[in-house]
Every structure is written in structure tokens, then in C-alpha cells.
């Protein structure tokens, strides 16, 4: 700024400066050109790659703005999930007998109770029995209050209830599959009795002997329907009705209707001694 104080000296200085600026501009242009050239030549040759996995653990601080954002979403979930829906006076296990289990029976009975009226009202038909897969039940019911969170733990998957129409031959195949399975797949609405050698003694469906000449309606998980023959349960299906009703919601709806949850091993699937 002090350059501009005297008129004469400014003129002289200004002339010099003008040349200087021109030179400067030339220099800048040259440097730019060089840079441009070198950047073009050196562009994008990959020379080194390093990979590592970083663990997300307690050594990392949480970002408060993220935690604060999550908080209201979480508290709403906790409020809904942790409110008691019913009370279990005893723990309901999943391994208390070889062919049918307390929790398996409870789950199949709930599916029967909740699906039967729905199926009747939408199709006019009667549900005959229920088959679920043992692997779809992920944990037991512990003694005490039973909450919706427990229903999520028992049935974490988004599986819907489907009703499958099977002909007599397909029902026989399904029964064979259940008899030969290494795990006790939950059933309701039917009774399977094995003789002491493990062969089939009798099958009753809705209290009547299994009739291979007619078709049956079976409520199950859509997982088993989609899985097709490869997972064993259903091979030839005459027809499938998707209820759009989540298995988990059937459990939650049922728990809301009752005060006390009780379940036991019974004679729906037994072997004679």
C-alpha cells in the first residue's frame, strides 16, 4: 500500500511492476503447462494396495449425534417389546421328549388357533392340521413374563403362514418325512403313533383316521413352501394360499388373548413301548 503514496515514484515503480507481472504471468503459464503435462503422464498407475479389517469395539467412542438420533427409535421399540403380554409359570422347553416338545406343541397349537378362523373366513374351507419346522424356532420361553421381544427371539425370521393343499399321497410322504426326521418338527391337528419298532402304527387327522383318497389343508411356514422338495416337507402341492400373516404376529396376537402360557408334551406324536 505504501507504494501509492508519492505520484512520481509510483509511475516508475508501476512501469517496472507491469513488466514484472507480465513475466510472472509467463512463468505461471509455463509452470501450469508443466504441471499439466506431468499430471497427464503420471495419472493413475496403481502401485500399492493395503487391506485390513477394523474391529468395531469398545475402544471406539460413539458419535453422540448418531446415538442421540437412534435413541427415540430405540425407546419406542423397547416400550412395545418389553411390555408383558402373558405370564409363563414354568419354563417351556424345546427338547423335553423325542417326538413332540412343549414349545413345539405350543407353537403349532397357536398357529392352528390363529390360522383356522382366518382360513375359514377367507376361503370357506376347514384347516386340517399344522406342520412347522423345528429349526424355525430359535429359543425357548423362560419362566416369568412373556413379552413381544420373546416372540421376536423365538421367531426372528419374517416367515408368513401359508396354507398348502395336499393330496393323500403327498400327505403320506409328509408323514414319512416327519417319522424319519431326526428332529421333532412341531405338529397340531394330527396324531402320529409309531409301533415299538419305529414303524407307522396309526395316523389320525382331526380325530379321524388318515384318508389317502382325499385332500388336506395344512398350515405351515412359507419358508417350507418356498424351499420346495429339497428341504423335505412338501413335494407336490395342489394349491398354496398365502395368508399374509406373520408367524410371529400370530404368536403375539395369541399371547395378548391369554393370561397364562402353559404347554406340555402330549400324545400327538408318540412311539409305543
Amino acid at each position: 500500500m505504501h507504494f501509492y503514496k508519492g505520484n512520481y515514484s509510483i509511475r516508475l515503480l508501476y512501469k517496472d511492476k507491469h513488466v514484472y507481472i507480465l513475466k510472472l504471468k509467463q512463468f505461471v503459464a509455463f509452470v501450469t503447462f508443466c504441471l499439466f503435462l506431468s499430471c497427464q503422464q503420471e495419472k493413475g498407475q496403481l502401485t500399492k494396495v493395503q487391506g485390513k479389517q477394523l474391529k468395531i469395539d469398545t475402544s471406539l467412542a460413539s458419535v453422540d449425534s448418531i446415538s442421540d438420533y437412534i435413541a427415540p427409535f430405540k425407546s419406542r421399540i423397547d416400550q412395545v417389546l418389553d411390555s408383558a403380554l402373558a405370564y409363563a409359570p414354568e419354563t417351556i422347553p424345546l427338547d423335553d421328549a423325542p417326538h413332540n416338545t412343549s414349545l413345539g406343541n405350543l407353537m403349532a397349537d397357536i398357529v392352528f388357533a390363529e390360522t383356522s378362523p382366518l382360513f375359514k373366513s377367507t376361503t370357506g374351507k376347514d384347516l386340517d392340521f399344522v406342520v412347522l419346522n423345528r429349526g424355525g424356532i430359535r429359543t425357548i420361553v423362560s419362566k416369568g413374563n412373556v413379552s413381544a421381544r420373546n416372540a421376536f427371539e423365538i421367531m426372528p425370521f419374517e416367515n408368513y403362514i401359508s396354507v398348502v393343499e395336499l393330496d393323500g399321497a403327498a400327505v403320506r410322504e409328509l408323514i414319512d418325512f416327519l417319522v424319519n426326521a431326526t428332529r421333532a418338527h412341531p405338529i397340531a391337528g394330527m396324531q402320529i403313533v409309531l409301533n415299538k419298532n419305529g414303524g407307522l402304527e396309526s395316523v389320525d387327522i382331526q380325530g379321524s383316521p388318515f384318508d389317502e383318497t382325499r385332500n388336506y389343508y395344512v398350515a405351515t411356514s412359507d419358508y417350507l413352501v418356498q424351499g420346495g422338495p429339497s428341504i423335505g416337507f412338501f413335494d407336490e402341492m395342489v394349491n398354496v394360499t398365502d395368508t399374509g400373516y406373520l408367524l410371529r404376529n400370530a404368536i403375539i396376537d395369541h399371547l395378548k388373548k391369554i393370561d397364562t402360557v402353559k404347554a406340555a408334551v402330549d400324545d400327538r406324536f408318540i412311539q409305543l413301548k
Binding site: K17, L35, K48, G51, L54, I56, V63, I70, F73
Partner: protein, 303 residues
């Protein structure tokens, strides 16, 4: 007059300073330009850390913690991309209650750049996925799902390019066969196209037309299967020509370190996957150098 001269003078000087600064940054940086790729897969709605009582993953994971790690890495190297290889949805009540809203909103807050679509991202149907699109500031990428006849038409791109520190990065998405894995009722008219063919077409386009310097595949095919004809990341890696990195998902594979496979041109391709549930963040750093160095030494990979 005086004022104008002064301005001219200052302008020239500041140009020089600016250029000096630029040359210092970029051309010194040219010796080793660094692109950092951060990635997750199969987070499955795991927003909170696992509880202390968890038998396998006690106190691990959590989005708020992942956020601080991402922030820290981004502050060290702004030339960072954050990517996800699908199955963002399903696995905790957050999804059951909010349908993926919170998952997408948090990924947007963490400034994810792109994600591909996993089979579980169809769990609330294609309409359920569409409903969450407004919550995503990141791009949804899939080159081999054709959504033309669905409500998702126009909301998913086959690939996206990014220019970071003068390096052009192309990211494309590849999804798994939906038939047998997802109910048709959910994915509706989404068409699954051959992942190998589409990947080769897309990487060629990214290399030859988009002139990308670095090509990344975000895949939800799964890491490796016994049957070599079943599309997997390892098979895909061996069939490609231009892909530098495949970030995988679906099989929840915990790799000790990224897998290195050889592609059709005899070059190395990294295949990585970081398990599931947001327990880990994958980090791959790519360093770019002068041409002569590269041809003399090849690419050194330390994993």
C-alpha cells in the same frame, strides 16, 4: 486506476500462490495418491452394539461407533469412499418396526457413497424398498437386476463413478439370484440377469468408456461355493479383466485378510468381506504412483 493495478497485481500473485499450493499438493501427492475404500456388508439392521450378555459378539458393533471410525479415517484421507454390499435390512426389531427407515437414515448420516441390494433388502417387498429410497443420500447400485417392470425403475443405477484426487473410481453392483431365496411376491417383476456376463460388460464400460482408474464391484453373490458354476465372488474375480476389488456379502464370511485372485489378464483382484452385523469395517487403501514405477515393480499388495 491505482486500485485496478493493485487488484491486478494481487490477482497475479495469488494465482501463483494458488498454483504453488496446487503443485505442492497434487504433484508431490502424485508420487503416492491414496484412495481409501471403507466397506460393510450384511449389517442386517444391527444398529446397536451387541449386548454384554451375547455369547459370541458381546459389546461389538454399533453404528455410532462405526461413525467415529469413519470420521477419523475421512479426516486423515478425504479421498475415501464408504460402501455397503447389501443385506442392510432384517435381523433386529429396528427393521420390523420401521421397515429400514433408520438403517437408511443412519447410512446417509455416515455419508455412505453407495450400496448394492441384497436378497433381504426385498424382505418388505419391492414396495418396502422403494418406501425407504427417500431416506438414502447414497446410491443404490445393481447392474444385473433389471427393475424396468417394477416400482424401483429409475431408482437403481448399474454403476456410479467418483473422482477423488484426480483418480476416477467406478463402482458397480451385482446381486444374487432371487428365485428360491426370496418369494416372488416380494421381488415381483425384478429380473435377475447373469452376473458374470453383466459384470464383464460393466467393467469394460467403466474401463473403456468411463476411463476409470480404479474399478470396484459391490457384490451380494457370496464369497465362494463348491459348485464353480454357481456365481460367487471368487469365480467372478477370476473371470474379470478390469475389476480391482470385489467387496462381497451374503455368506457372512469372516476373512482373516482380503483374498487375492488372478484375473483374465493375469493381474491381482482383491476379494474381501467383513463378516456381518457391523462387527467390522473393511479398509482397502489404493496407492497410485508414476507410470514407470508401476511397470517396473507391478502392484505390491500387502494384506
Amino acid at each position: 486506476m491505482k486500485r485496478r493495478d493493485f487488484l491486478r497485481n494481487t490477482a497475479a500473485t495469488s494465482t501463483l500462490i494458488g498454483l504453488g499450493g496446487l503443485s505442492f499438493n497434487s504433484c508431490k501427492g502424485l508420487g503416492s495418491r491414496q484412495i481409501t475404500i471403507l466397506h460393510t456388508n450384511d449389517v442386517h439392521s444391527h444398529i446397536d452394539p451387541f449386548p454384554t450378555s451375547h455369547s459370541q459378539y458381546a459389546n461389538l458393533g454399533g453404528v455410532a461407533r462405526r461413525a467415529s471410525l469413519v470420521e477419523q479415517i475421512r479426516s486423515e484421507n478425504p479421498n475415501t469412499l464408504l460402501l455397503d454390499a447389501g443385506d442392510i435390512f432384517q435381523g433386529t426389531p429396528y427393521f420390523n418396526f420401521y421397515g429400514g427407515e433408520l438403517e437408511f437414515k443412519l447410512m446417509s448420516k455416515l455419508k455412505y457413497d453407495a450400496a448394492t441390494i441384497g436378497n433381504h433388502d426385498f424382505d418388505n417387498g419391492i414396495d418396502g424398498l422403494l418406501a425407504q429410497v427417500p431416506n438414502a443420500t447414497f446410491k443404490l447400485l445393481s447392474a444385473n437386476y433389471d427393475f424396468s417392470n417394477t416400482v424401483m425403475n429409475g431408482f437403481v443405477k448399474p454403476y456410479q463413478t467418483y473422482v477423488l484426487d484426480g483418480i476416477k473410481v467406478g463402482v458397480y453392483g451385482i446381486g444374487i439370484k432371487l428365485d428360491g431365496l426370496v418369494t416372488k411376491r416380494l421381488y415381483k417383476e425384478t429380473e435377475y440377469l447373469n452376473p458374470f456376463e453383466i459384470a464383464l460388460d460393466t467393467e469394460r464400460l467403466l474401463k473403456e468408456e468411463e476411463k476409470c482408474d480404479l474399478i470396484i464391484c459391490l457384490s451380494h453373490l457370496g464369497y465362494d461355493y463348491q459348485n464353480p458354476d454357481r456365481p460367487s465372488d471368487t469365480q467372478l474375480a477370476q473371470r474379470t479383466h478390469h475389476t480391482d476389488l470385489i467387496i462381497g456379502g451374503h455368506t457372512h464370511t469372516f476373512l482373516d485378510k482380503p483374498d487375492v485372485r488372478i484375473n483374465q489378464k493375469g493381474n491381482s483382484v482383491l476379494v474381501n468381506q467383513v463378516g456381518a452385523y457391523g462387527l467390522n469395517l473393511g479398509r482397502i487403501d489404493f496407492y497410485f504412483d508414476e507410470a514407470k514405477n508401476a511397470s517396473a515393480n507391478g502392484v505390491s499388495i500387502s494384506v
